[in-house]
Each structure stands twice: as C-alpha cells, then as structure tokens.
Amino acid sequence: MGRLLEGSEIALAKLITLVENNPAGMTGVMPMIQHRLGKAFCIGLTGPPGAGKSSLASQVIKALRSAGAKVGVIAVDPTSPFTGGALLGDRVRMQDHYLDPGVFIRSMATRGSLGGLARATKDVIKLMDVFGFDYVLVETVGVGQTELDIMQTTDITVVVLVPEGGDGVQAMKAGLMEIGDIFVINKSDRPGADSMAVQLQGVLQMNPRYASAMPPVMLTQGTDGKGVAELVEAVRARQAILGDTDLEERRREKRNLEFEEILKWAVVEEWKGLAGSDEKLKDRLSEVVEGSKDPYTMLREIFPYGCIRPLTD
C-alpha cells in the first residue's frame, strides 16, 4: 500500500489484481485511501464494437498528456460465458503510450455479471485515483447492460458512434442514446458522417434527459487525431460546468449505487457460503432448483425477518 502511494507501478498493478480477483481485498485497502480519493476525473468511452474507441482513446491520451496530465486507462473486454477466457485486445491500439511513465494501461475482462464489471472497475478507478492520475479513462463496448454500468461508474460518459451506412441510425436506437454527456461520430472521414450528426442531434432533441441542455455532438478521426483537441476541450468544458458542486452531487448518487452493489454482492457471497456448508439450506435450495417451490416463497421462508439485519445504533 505504501508503495502504491510512492508511485510504484508494480504495487498498483498487484493491487488491481487483488481487487479484481477478490473484492474482499478492498476491505483492507479502502480505509487507507478513502480520504485521498476524488482528485482524478473519470471519463467513460463507450460505443458499439468497431467504432474505433481504442484508437480514439489513444488520441485522447495523447492530447491529455501533451497538457501535462497523467492518465490511467482501463480497457474492458468481454469474458466468454462458455470458457471464462477473454481476449484483451484494446491495448494494441494504445502502443504509442507503452513507455510513457505518465500513462498506465490496464486491461480487464468482464468476468461474469452481477455488477462484476462495475464493481471491480470502480475499485480500480479508486486505486488509479490514489496513485495520482489526473484522468482515468474507462473504455468499454457499449452493448446490453454495460453502458448503464459505465454511466454509473464514470464522471462523464462519451458515446462513440461511427457512420456505417444505415447501421449508424440503428446504433442510435440502442440504449446508448440516453447515457452520453458527449456524443462523438468517429471515423468522420467516411461518407455520411455529417448527415449522421444531424440525425443524431434530432434524436437527442427528443430525449427528455437533454431537455435543459443538449450534449455536444462532435466529429473525430481516431486514426489521425482530427477533432480530438476539440473533444478534449469539450470534456474539459463539461468538467468545468459540472464544477465541484455538481460533480459532488453526481458522485454522491454514485456512491449510493455503489454501496447497494457491494451490499448485493456481500449478501450473495454470504448466502453462497451458508448454502454451501449447511445441509438443511442445501435441501431447501434444491426445492427451488428442482422447481417444486417458487423463489419468492422460499425467500420468505428462509428469511422471515428479511435478509439483512443491520447494526443501527
């Protein structure tokens, strides 16, 4: 822990492994870092596969670095539900920063559901925050549930889309349209980028979330960095608008959500421990598993006083 605060990359890497593998690992770590949290600004980068997020991330890192900021990067890739394995390939596109001491890149696999991604990612963000990064960039594929996760994890969410014939509009219909603070049309040298920007603005205007203020829609090219300076400027502008108060407000909500998540995880873990060792509970559980009893009734029967009895005084 001390070595983390001294800036040892190896210590940071090992701690990340610890929290990734075993959330209980954070129990020992958190009290020591809690009061140091909150310096890093966390940017989420999400969008459909093939939108060029990693290349864009690499350009964003470059821009942030040239302004002297230190950047931590978390690149998330999906775990195969069948084998438990994962191919973590985003790093390849961030090669320019491999030897930069002001950049730390960590790949993470989603490793199953139950807030797994969100929890471990949040903890890794905290570790990077304490390590002294000014920005933490979280890159994830935005399909299905993960995009909500990312919105609840980062301070600001950048949604990355790409003009792909009619598919661009298709992407707009997916759950991505409500979570962005900034929208980016990457690979903007492709035909249809401008018209997609217009369409996108139309879609966003109809969304109640943006009734008071429209999110910026920007054009970028991850391959050569065109539009990236403007994107980073927009991020900074949002950062400034959020200010300390709004940011704190957002983070308060997030901490609440985070607590609920950890609670869920702890309850389930505890239950697994109990059900694994107690023969009677195992038998009861088998009734649910076999389908002879519905789960709601079973819950009431096993926990007549509720699942948790908190210490309140």
Binding site: I10, S80, L88, R91, Y98, L99, I105, R111
Partner: protein, 135 residues
C-alpha cells in the same frame, strides 16, 4: 483468501518479425482454454513487453519469434523482468527456434520452448501445471 481466477497471459511478438499466425493462434487458443489473454501487437521491444507485463500483472508471458533474433531478444526480456523483481512471471516461447538454442534459452529464464505444431492444449496444460500460484 485467493479465489479461483483466470490465468492472465501476455502473448508478445518481440523484434521486427511480422509472422504472427502462431502468436494469434496461441492467443485465441488460450482464451478458449479459459485464460485472459493480452496480445501485444507486432514489433515490441523487450522494454515494452516488460512494461506491459508489469501493468497487466500477468502470470505468463508467451514470446514468439521467427526471425532468428530469439537468442538476443528473449534473454533481454527475462533479465529485465529480474531487474524488476518479476522473476515469478513464467516465460515460455515459440517460433522458429532451432533445437540447439533451447538449452541456452532455458538457462536464460525461458521455462519452455514449444516448437512447430505444438497443440495449444498442451501449452495450456503446461501453464496450468507449472504456474506459480494455486488455482
């Protein structure tokens, strides 16, 4: 309490050699064997490979080289790992490695050399049996 967790592997291509079929097949195969695999991309210097291994905190590094520069590049990687006190990372290798060089590489910290035609399953098996931590 260490929980059961996936083994994390860095598959890396040191030097200028661009023949990446083997590296990619191994990367995809180890993924199918339930491992978390990071692929470095081509033209990696020993320094970059070690830096990636540090940040990703990998258990295993798999090196692939078909250009004949292995006797120079592989030991440079293992000695850098030693410098960083990361000798516990297992380093294995493949590519065009003549039989006569294997002893030299083993002396220099390469745990195993897998030749042309090795099934990925046997590589996975080797990793599982020889890895430093308990699964």
């Amino acid at each position: 309490m260490e929980k059961k967790r996936p083994i994390k592997v860095l598959v890396a291509k040191p030097g200028l050699d661009g023949h990446d079929r083997g590296a990619k097949v191994v990367a995809l195969g180890l993924r199918d064997e339930g491992m978390e695999v990071i692929y470095s991309g081509l033209r990696q210097t020993p320094e970059k490979i070690v830096q990636t291994a540090i940040q990703e905190d990998v258990d295993v590094i798999g090196l692939s080289c078909l250009s004949g520069a292995h006797n120079r590049l592989f030991p440079e990687i293992t000695s850098r790992l030693k410098e960083k006190k990361m000798e516990n990372v297992m380093v294995i290798a493949g590519g065009h490695i003549p039989e006569k060089d294997i002893a030299f590489l083993r002396e220099n910290g390469i745990s195993a050399v897998f030749g042309h035609g090795t099934p990925v399953k046997s590589i996975a098996e080797y990793i599982r049996q020889n890895i430093a931590f308990n699964l």
